[in-house]
Amino acid sequence: MNKMQKALRELAEMDELAAQNSIIHRLCPTAKLLATVLYIAVVLSFGKYQLSGLAVLLLWPVLLFQLSGIPVHICFYKLRIVLPLVLAVGLFNPFFDRAILLRLGPLAVSGGFISMLTLMLKGLLCLMASFLLMATTNFDSLCASLRKLHIPGMLVTLLLLTYRYVGVMTEELAVMTEAYSLRAPGQKGLQVSAWGSFLGQLLLRSMDRAQELYASMLLRGYHEHFHYAPMKPFGPGDVVYLALSALFFLVLRFVPAAQLLGNLLLR
């Protein structure tokens, strides 16, 4: 299976998840989007040593995973992209920041180590949050909700159209890549002589495709205006969800809950 086929599978998988039905799936996309953005902002606002404050925020995605019935392992699969990047930046911290922040018996933990862990946890939390958004919301209704949030129509329409053709183009390139590799056994990538023509051929064909697509839009009465998927109304359930989430984030942002809990227990 080549990279494009894997990407196609990943896309299909997200579609299937979003098509499921649960309390979370049924929420209005706008509420979910806002809660997710707020969550990520709160996560990012934690300082680089505030590991324990951050840890409590794990509860929100965990709860959502359970309520929505989305399997966690798919999300961990996506970690393969986020984690190396975060690690690449964070790994240096233990070397540069050697001040001892914490002693656990004989074990001395440096600030750099803590900040590296914090960074990784941030990466994980942000990934979970946006993954949950996409896994419980279908893309068309998310686009409709973006439009409601006053993102310009041109951009939203472009997003919708591109999303539709990402699948088509990836599929075509997957087939072309397979055809190439059948005639070029043992080659891992495209050799120089085909650098231009491989993508170029498809590009020219795509321009014709775009024309035909435009014709198809025109022939069905298109003028400037795109009709988006019907919106789920922003109901009382959504208000409750958004309010509870926001309350949870903000309380945890300013109250060091983990510390307090620990103090209580140790006393």
């Binding site: 590991l51 997003l159 775009a210 697509l213 435009y214």
Partner: protein
């Protein structure tokens, strides 16, 4: 070069959203004025194509390794800078939402780093001036144009990737995420992206040459007639602008570094103990940092760095983590496990009740 959410402080992320949003707004305005509705499907299909095209492995001759392309320059050369920029935004958005490549908060920064430079800086500063210049006149009409396309693609990609990589460094450092000194971070990022830019440039050139051979009318910026802008910038002017740009980036870097060594932890001149500046062959004293500018930069720094390092002071104990924090976190982990067990229990019960 996709940045993850975790690498940014909310203030930096928001600032980058504002910057990218403004550029997007201006682009949309310009495209609306152009009133070319047939462009929308072309943009969508090209964006989808580049999205898929980023997954192609290009074998780099003589190395056995392979390169990729990102496509900003390619899209603006085909669609024009504004439409190219919007297409890149859409690509980055889809990558972020469906593939966790980049992040929701980091999207603004990613758009800036990967789309803005490639589409606008690369196009207006290099692509168009070079294509309309009289370089390589001796090679005949076609040969000259081919050479110009190659030069513009390579130069454009190298420049825009350097700018992009530098922005990544700057954004990460301003966010207070890494303890890696700015200079060292640059020393890591810039050379790698020189190579990446070169490869990207060559791939872009190859694709554009193919397009030029088969359907030259598809290339944007080729003929001066197509847009009314008077800006027929001479190559000399371009070189001058480039030089100023390099000076500004270099100057800004040294200013940021020297004005507030604490905020940016260790910058180019900062940590003299380690002999870092000496190693780099730079001498702080002789660099003559003007104090007014330094103060200004310091003020900017204070605003931008109020969150990460000194975040919401008092909300956590001075050093942040303590033994009680760890115990508390362990309890949170316990609670998370309980939630999972409960969820599993209810789902199983539901499944059972469906069966009966």
């Amino acid at each position: 070069m996709h940045m993850a959410d975790a690498l940014l402080a909310p203030t930096v992320a928001a600032a980058m959203y504002v910057a990218s949003g403004t550029a997007a707004g201006v682009s949309i305005h310009k495209l609306r004025k152009e009133d070319a509705p047939q462009k929308l499907p072309v943009m969508a299909v090209s964006a989808a194509l580049v999205f898929a095209g980023q997954m192609i492995n290009y074998t780099i001759p003589g190395t056995g390794s392979s390169g990729h392309m990102c496509g900003g320059m390619l899209l603006s050369a085909l669609l024009g800078p504004q439409a190219g920029f919007l297409s890149m935004i859409v690509i980055l958005t889809i990558q972020c939402l469906f593939f966790a490549d980049g992040g929701l908060m980091a999207l603004g920064a990613n758009i800036w780093n990967m789309a803005f430079y490639g589409c606008f800086v690369g196009y207006y500063l290099l692509w168009r001036p070079i294509l309309r210049s009289r370089l390589f006149k001796g090679l005949g009409v076609k040969g000259a144009q081919r050479s110009r396309i190659i030069l513009a693609s390579v130069a454009g990609c190298v420049l825009t990737l350097q700018l992009g990589a530098f922005s990544v460094v700057l954004e990460t450092s301003l966010s207070g995420i890494t303890d890696l000194p700015l200079g060292a971070f640059c020393a890591l990022m810039q050379p790698i992206h020189l190579a990446i830019g070169l490869i990207e440039g060559l791939i872009t050139a190859a694709v554009l040459l193919f397009v030029y051979e088969s359907r030259p009318e598809l290339l944007s910026g080729l003929s001066p007639a197509e847009d009314s802008l008077p800006a027929k910038r001479s190559l000399k002017a371009t070189v001058a602008i480039l030089a100023v740009l390099v000076l500004m980036v270099g100057g800004g870097l040294s200013l940021l570094a020297s004005s507030n060594p604490d905020g940016l932890e260790w910058a180019l001149f900062g940590n003299a103990d380690a002999g870092y500046s000496e190693n780099m062959g730079l001498d702080e004293e002789n660099f003559g940092v003007s104090s007014a500018a330094a103060e200004k930069a310091g003020a900017v720094q204070e605003v931008t760095s109020f969150l990460p390092d000194y975040a919401f002071q008092g909300s956590d104990s001075a050093a942040g983590t303590s033994v009680s924090g760890i115990v508390g976190s362990a309890m949170v982990a316990g609670a998370a496990v309980l939630i999972c067990l409960a969820g599993g229990f209810f789902r199983r019960r539901k499944a059972n009740s469906h069966k009966h």
